[in-house]
């Protein structure tokens, strides 16, 4: 049997992130100011983000060096292993090879620290003392708490109140790394106070939590804001996964026919596939498959237009596939995939037919998750399980056609903080939700008029 895990030697760990911007098929439409609708510049972002991150957001350099201190911190768990899923292949009786890049090995249990670490580092270097962010299910808040603790920074997390109450273990994880976690809406910001005055019983929303974190950063000189997906610099940091995977597949003597990842804001999928994009551009036959929940099918059903990044309408307008910033997806367990938009970089590729997208229902996704856990051992996060489902489907297509394809997917995280989702599935009470078809025609009218 060929090797089960392909381990990249430490000396082979990438020392620069890959920036897709110079390789794009067309220019990326600029973000627009939410009120003036004019392209925003660095000065608009400076109160919120470290200057180095603002530069990365618009950089046209194809490679951006990873600072030595970030590399040292990555080394706590990186390079991450690439696994050959021999047992899953056998269970499926497929002629396909299935690989997965295992990002669940990070201390926070997901790919999110790949950007939390550099974001904390750049802010620290620019004298910032504290980072503020929002979190829903808690994956991103955990990663940033870890990131801040690694550089001795303070971290304030506005956690959607209903999650704060229902997911105490995620909150405790953040607090264990030293973060201050507050149930949003809070009485600490004007945004929070305003909501509470109108709705004293508000259980919060990601939109409100974003508003609170942004206000916190904007009103404190020593504080900046931090975002865990969507933006170009976030996606840039995630390319470490694809760069490593490419080298690891080479070590295994393979090149992928299909690359797969789940898409919420798009950072894990983009980070995985972008480093392979120059090959595709040069004519290589490689397919990229983005996987969504049917409850929030941004790429498969959304329209490509300017929309707000948040639900409240405070962020810059970004050109992306969107279901409308007012859309509230059904409360599926894959909380990290319940986002109305997607990374503008990723959307531009999808608009140019360079990326395929599929959507799955959560029961089918959990069927796949359990098969994976019982063959490969690892219990995957609900979000991740969307990618697993698509990989299994690709492998079954190979079984039918006899094609010996090489399939690789990103295992974005483990499911140890998602056991209630497994309980829901195992007890037979899981409910499926689709995007209401009749809402498609309403998306356009819900968007800001540019």
């Amino acid at each position: 049997m060929s090797q089960t895990r392909i381990i990249l030697p430490d000396r082979e760990m990438p020392t620069a992130w890959y920036n897709i911007q110079p390789d794009l098929p067309e220019q990326l439409p600029p973000p627009l100011h939410p009120r003036t609708h004019q392209p925003i510049g660095p000065e608009d972002l400076a109160p919120l983000f470290a200057m180095e991150l603002i530069k990365q957001e618009v950089s046209q350099e194809p490679w951006i060096d990873i600072p030595e201190e970030v590399l040292d911190t990555y080394r706590l768990w990186r390079p991450s292993p690439l696994h050959r899923a021999h047992r899953l292949e056998k269970a499926l009786d497929t002629p396909a090879k299935i690989y997965f890049k295992n990002e669940s090995v990070s201390p926070a249990g997901s790919h999110k620290p790949n950007t939390a670490i550099p974001q904390a580092y750049y802010n620290k270097m620019e004298g910032v003392k504290r980072l503020a962010t929002e979190t829903g299910a808690g994956q991103w808040g955990s990663a940033l708490s870890l990131g801040c603790s690694m550089f001795g920074m303070e971290c304030t997390v506005y956690m959607v109140k209903v999650s704060f109450q229902q997911k105490p273990y995620r909150r405790l994880l953040m607090e264990s790394w030293g973060a201050d976690v507050f149930a949003s809406p809070t009485e600490m910001t004007n945004s929070g106070k305003k909501i509470l005055a109108e709705h004293p019983d508000s259980t919060g929303s990601l939109g409100i939590a974003i508003s609170e974190a942004v206000e916190d950063a904007a009103t404190h000189d020593d504080t900046r804001y931090s975002l865990g997906s969507v933006l170009n610099h976030v996606v840039l940091h995630q390319t470490i996964t694809g760069l490593e995977a490419k080298k690891q597949l080479e070590m295994a003597g393979d090149y992928p026919d299909v690359l797969i990842g789940c898409v919420g804001g798009g950072s894990n999928f983009s980070g995985f596939i972008f480093p392979f994009f120059p090959d595709k551009k040069a004519g290589k036959d490689i397919r990229f498959v983005a996987v969504e929940p049917t409850a929030c099918p941004t790429l498969t059903k959304g329209i490509y237009d300017y929309d707000f990044g948040d639900t409240v309408g405070l962020t810059p307008l970004m050109k992306m596939h969107t279901l409308g910033h007012n859309y509230v997806p059904a409360p599926i367990h894959a909380g990290g995939l319940r986002y109305h938009g997607d990374s503008p970089l990723l959307c531009l590729l999808h608009k140019n037919n360079l990326i395929d997208a599929v959507a799955y229902r959560q029961k089918d996704v959990f069927d796949a998750a359990l098969l994976f856990a019982r063959t490969e051992g690892i219990l995957p996060a609900p979000e991740t399980s969307h990618a697993i489902k698509a990989a299994i489907d690709e492998a079954l297509k190979c079984k039918e056609s006899g094609a010996k394809k090489t399939i690789a997917f990103l295992l974005s995280g483990h499911g140890f903080f998602d056991m209630t989702a497994y309980e829901n599935y195992l007890s037979g009470n899981m409910i499926d939700s689709d995007f209401p078809e009749d809402m498609i025609k309403n998306i356009k009218s819900s968007l800001p008029q540019i």
Copy 2:
């Protein structure tokens, strides 16, 4: 900076376990029949254990080959990384080097699968369809559920009722791997029925759960019993960690002055240190430090004598350090360290002054856990944190003396299923418990009279 993680190449993974028995300073006293007090033989154990495991229990061969199928399954996560804890060293400002062997990377999150996998394998090879076991906090039940799922076997876990109710996430993890988990006492066994008849509201105990699992195995031809610590064959399987660590330290150009591990039943500590024992025997200056909770100080306060392995008095008598099989330790968070006895192999070494033992209070242990999480990133299990506390103390001693010692400890597991323990600590409500000093004189009289 030297390397953060030392990764053993796949081809260097050990292919045989190290058996300490031929190297012992004196012969291991045999286990005795619980009623006749005569040495037990294979025929007594055959209804409960696979024959290959019974052979390993008494083997005098110094090396026992690891079956190819077990190696293939180990490869899902092994070899595990050895980390150099640069950040912790820096935080302590110590001249010592601190290494840790990271067993938290297994799919079940601890070292326990190192023995669950071969136990499932040998039973499968001998035609056994199902394994029965008990679990308290759930670490061992999780590992055996994983092990059984890897070989397509059924798994029945008798989980102490109070844990079943308080730790639903652990139960769900086992069920996700396909195990049947029951709150013990159950109505399914005579042992359980008897308890429930007398105490309908019984919340169970590990002793009762053992009785149920043993009865289940003894009364079903297709079923065997499985134990996660204490026994010689369990400790044998765990030597994979020490064997790997030895090679990894060599790769780093180091040899340890001190090896540290926490001790409940003794399997993780023994597996880590035994492969270094021949060096010590040959005169090498190396110290082994076993770490216990003050609430259950088996090695530091117990006496060395024959006692039952369980609280009910059904198992063979083993010669070991014991606090008496009736001793009920305070409900500290490190549930895996609440065992009245210890591995007879380990105890024999301790009796011969070849092992040091220390005991810590849980507040001090959690201080160490938090410092570790905030420097090295990984959130450790409460049990594991005992080893961390001892490693920190050794490093601080070096700071005082200026000695540049090399310290290595076993990181036996992560704390993602122990967040209530962290909550208890972070909220300032953690209570310390010591072994009642006046009970020491009563230990002897609580033991069976041989």
